[in-house]
């Protein structure tokens, strides 16, 4: 069956603030899904969107798929239950930075550790929006908010670093307004077997407007970001004249054509490398010294939790003496009382 973006729009009125980055993310998902269905053979009823609490977590209401709007922080746990209960479903978790990394941090890292086959879209606007402007675990150090009127004194998480630290098999990063890149990543995420985390640099127009602007503004984006693609050299810049090289154990930005550096000297991105060393350096690149890494940074293959659960059950069942509950109840020591 062929779908269009329209097929994934629910009848609910979208109620995010005008100018919110979530509109672009919703558009990118609805745009990506028809192709995703065609490529991977999914039908609409196989999709389940699960969310926690926060602005982003209203997302499932706007998708004409199965959806579950959970409680704060618990989306990863609910999504895990859905997937284990019915592995033929394709499960998408929508969480904000507060939902996934503060109250839900435990579920987030353990879902990743298990490598359960779910897709996590992490809308990172570095602020609590729905409670009207308090700092989040990704707010920059010193950020002034309503609960940090003199600036925060705590260090933020870098979501990618957390994913890799939890032995994540897939991490990608995109920008809310880059619908094309986001759509491309959605497809990669869906293809990946295992927990696929996509961090979306999202703008909160009301409480944290421009938080990512230094990186994402159109005028500077080409020079301050690099879109990584597996097998391609790490080249970026408006004029495609900058690249990344290894300098000892560090990454460095070089100019192609200067000091004898040619395209051949530039690192080639290997998203499938199990050793997370380079991936860790890539996710940690920050402006202004480095471009912020976008695209699929890591996609390594490993056994998924849901497959392992199924395989273990099938293996045990193949040799089991107990086939039904009557067998179970009569197993082990029993005795009879005659009439």
């Amino acid at each position: 069956m062929k779908y269009t973006a329209q097929d994934f729009k629910s009848d609910q009125e979208v109620k995010w603030c005008p100018g919110c980055g979530d509109y672009s993310i919703l558009a990118a998902v609805q745009r990506a899904f028809p192709e995703l269905c065609e490529t991977l053979g999914y039908t609409k009823e196989q999709f389940v969107f699960v969310s926690g609490i926060g602005c982003a977590s209203r997302f499932p209401y706007y998708m004409d798929t199965y959806g579950f709007h959970g409680i704060h922080g618990r989306a990863a746990a609910i999504a895990t239950g859905v997937k284990v209960a019915n592995p033929s479903l394709t499960v998408w978790q929508i969480s904000g930075d507060g939902d996934a990394l503060a109250i839900g941090g435990n579920h987030f890292i353990h879902a990743i550790r298990r490598n359960i086959d779910i897709n996590i879209l992490l809308h990172n606007n570095q602020i609590y929006g729905l409670t009207k402007g308090q700092y989040s675990p990704t707010s920059k150090l010193g950020k002034v908010t309503k609960t940090s009127p003199y600036g925060t004194v705590e260090h933020p998480f870098n979501p990618g670093e957390l994913v890799l630290g939890a032995r994540g098999t897939f991490f990608a990063r995109t920008i809310d307004v880059d619908v094309k890149l986001t759509s491309e990543i959605m497809l990669a995420s869906a293809r990946h077997d295992g927990t696929a985390v996509t961090e979306i640099l999202q703008n909160c127009v009301i409480f944290n407007d421009g938080a990512h602007a230094a990186v994402t503004q159109k005028a500077v984006r080409d020079d301050r970001t690099i879109v990584l693609r597996h097998g391609e050299p790490m080249i970026f810049g408006l004029n495609r004249d900058k690249g990344l090289m290894l300098d000892g154990l560090q990454l460095k930005v070089v100019r192609i054509g200067e000091k004898g550096i040619t395209e051949k000297d530039i690192l080639v991105h290997n998203a499938q490398e199990p050793n997370p060393g380079i991936h860790m350096m890539l996710v940690n690149m920050q402006a202004p010294d480095f471009p912020v890494a976008l695209g699929v940074i890591r996609a390594v293959s490993d056994k998924t939790y849901d497959d392992s659960v199924r395989d273990q059950v099938l293996h045990i069942q193949a040799n089991a003496g107990i086939k039904n509950v009557d067998d179970l109840l009569h197993s082990g020591s029993t005795w009879s009382v005659e009439r």
């Binding site: 618990r74 284990v84 209960a85 020591s333 009439r339």
Partner: protein, 610 residues
């Protein structure tokens, strides 16, 4: 001098020792042998929270009480006829449970000055200090005799000394004229790959038996005839195992795969462990990162169409409160098992109590009623779990099942039911492309919504914690909110039409109605049975369903002059009854010591009303 064999109808034995002395196993093997001989029985493992507390201290004493009988045995007994104490600390902690006529079997080797002091005795004569001089004391050098028994076994000394519990078991088997074969059979199975251990354990057990026979110190031994039990096949089962199996049975009957999301917690862990074994029946267990994930994975699994459960104890239930509200709001089938233990907070983790009733009934934000049920005995946990799952799925709502540490760890014989005789379970699953489907449209009888499973074409819908209207749209309309609160409450109340009426044991009307719920049933029943001999008319109304209450509750209460509510808390059920059925006066009998009732204290409490 040959000893005399005396027939008795029932007898209670308490095995006690250090946590590492193997008393739980000893008690279990004694029980298994009784089961094979056709005795009725009831067990009560009573152990500390510490896995191996410092040796020879009272805090490390582990006990296992079992009562076996030739007639209906409903409790593990108040006081014991035989107390086995493997060290002074065990004697110190357990002498209070020995009848004045009790035989006390002591491991003489452990009664050295150092151990006696460590146990807390202030003199060097524990027997006199505990006023046990008139008891029959068998002071047996159990460790020495075990070493002697196995000196040629080739086993290392640590293994040899660890077998001393089997020597003690052998003594008890002699005392009660038990055959050793069932225990030999157990060793055969247990150590199939270690024949040297089969031989060693067999020998120690036999030598313990022979020792008791040869010393001629025991004048009387006892015989307990088989109990008159209904024909059928029986097994020994504990409450946690029965709970797990009840859910597996409900899964088979309903055709819904079973999913359990849980986090280990004493004394509920046994349910998760039992379910984890049952991959052969397709059971999926997820040991989660925390209690909250336990219930939230279960909610996700329920949404996706599984029979979903989560198991916990009091502290874990506190953590699950918010998610319980989500299950109530989304009207998904889910069973939460709370195997209660002593609280508040960490409390006394291995000791039993009924103190979570208020939490079960009220512990959620908003107007959030839930069906609350309670299991009454170890084997009844099977039926309770089965019915909790049936109600959850057929009525589309979460159900709270209260168990207790006393039930979870305790065991009794169970006549195995046939699955064909268990009632059917028919969840209201929506067929594909049903144009009439809306998430919160209800059937007229049960007021249950229907279950639309993700993956089914044409039923795409969104649910969640936000208030919705019947069509599933998010709504903050004041009247819709009030209406939906009313509908959710009415749905829970409707369950009263689907549960059995309250039964009365003993006198059907008269002077005193003893009221209880949950795991106190055995003690209350036995106490009320004892009092039937008197001329006062005393009945027992024991509640398996707490919310909603059975429809005939007031009718039953009206038939008695006095009502006394007995529970292992400070009066939570009594307060609930006062709220639900105001015209009656409720006396109370309460105990919050981490221990079950004794039959005698119930009898005393009831007699005070007469």
């Amino acid at each position: 001098m040959p000893h005399k064999i005396i027939d008795v109808t029932d007898v209670t034995i308490r095995f006690s020792g250090d946590s590492g002395d193997g008393m739980q196993l000893t008690g279990t093997l004694f029980t298994d042998a009784a089961a094979v001989l056709g005795n009725d029985f009831s067990t009560f493992p009573d152990f500390p929270a510490e896995i191996r507390a410092p040796q020879d201290t009272v805090s490390g004493v582990s006990g296992f009480q079992v009562r076996i009988g030739s007639r209906d045995v409903r409790t593990p007994g108040d006081l014991c006829d035989v107390l086995v104490a493997m060290n002074p600390a065990a004697l110190f902690a357990n002498a209070q449970w020995a009848k004045p006529t009790a035989t006390v079997i002591l491991n003489a080797d452990a009664f050295e000055e150092r151990n006696i002091t460590r146990a807390g005795f202030t003199t060097d004569n524990p027997i006199t200090e505990l006023h046990l001089d008139d008891r029959t004391i068998l002071f047996a050098p159990i460790t020495t005799l075990t070493k002697e028994s196995l000196k040629d076994s080739g086993l290392d000394m640590k293994t040899i000394v660890r077998s001393k519990n089997m020597f003690a078991l052998g003594i008890c088997f002699f005392l009660f004229n038990r055959p050793l074969q069932p225990t030999f059979d157990y060793f055969e199975r247990k150590f199939a790959k270690k024949p040297e251990l089969i031989a060693a354990n067999n020998k120690v057990l036999q030598d313990g038996f022979n020792y008791a026979e040869n010393i001629h110190a025991i004048q009387n031994t006892y015989n307990i005839k088989p109990a008159k039990q209904a024909p059928g096949t029986y097994r020994n089962i504990n409450g946690n195992q029965a709970t797990a199996w009840g859910f597996i049975a409900a899964s088979e009957k309903s055709g819904r795969p079973l999913f359990c999301g849980s986090y280990p917690i004493t004394p509920a862990t046994g349910i998760l462990e039992e379910l984890a074994l049952r991959k052969d029946l397709g059971v999926k267990t997820l040991q989660c990162e925390d209690e909250i994930a336990g219930i939230c994975t279960a909610i996700g699994a329920a949404y996706a169409g599984n029979l979903a459960i989560t198991t916990t104890s009091g502290p874990g239930l506190s953590l699950k409160s918010e998610a319980l509200g989500l299950a109530v709001m989304t009207e998904l089938p889910l069973v939460v098992v709370d195997v209660q233990r002593s609280g508040p907070s960490t409390g006394i983790p291995t000791k039993t109590e009924q103190t979570d009733l208020n939490q079960a009934l009220y512990g959620r934000n908003g107007e959030c009623p839930m069906v609350v049920m309670a299991a009454r005995s170890p084997s009844h946990c099977f039926d309770a779990a089965f019915w909790a799952a049936k109600l959850a799925m057929e009525h589309m709502m979460p159900v709270m099942l209260l168990s207790e540490g006393f039930l979870g760890n305790g065991s009794e014989p169970w006549r195995i039911p046939a699955m064909k005789d268990c009632p059917s379970i028919d969840p209201p699953i929506v067929p594909a492309n049903d144009p009439a489907y809306y998430p919160f449209v209800r059937d007229a009888e049960r007021l249950a919504r229907r279950w639309a499973l993700p993956g089914t074409p044409g039923l795409m819908h969104r649910i969640g914690g936000l208030e919705k209207n019947n069509k599933g749209g998010v709504s903050s309309d004041p009247l819709v909110h009030e209406q939906m609160i009313g509908e959710r409450a009415a749905k829970v109340a409707k369950v009263a039409d689907y549960i059995p009426p309250l039964q009365v044991d003993g006198a059907q009307d008269g002077d005193v109605l003893v009221v209880g719920w949950g795991g106190t049933f055995g003690h209350l029943y036995t106490a009320v049975q004892q009092m039937q001999a008197g001329k006062r008319r005393i009945g027992l109304a024991h509640f398996d369903y707490i919310n909603p209450l059975p429809k005939n509750t007031a009718d039953v209460f009206r038939r008695f002059k006095n009502i006394i509510v007995c529970e292992l808390n400070s009066g939570q059920f009594a307060a609930y009854l006062r709220d639900r059925h105001q015209p009656f006066f409720y006396h109370q009998f309460n105990k919050i010591q981490g221990q079950p009732f004794t039959v005698s204290e119930i009898v005393t409490a009831v007699r005070k009303l007469l």
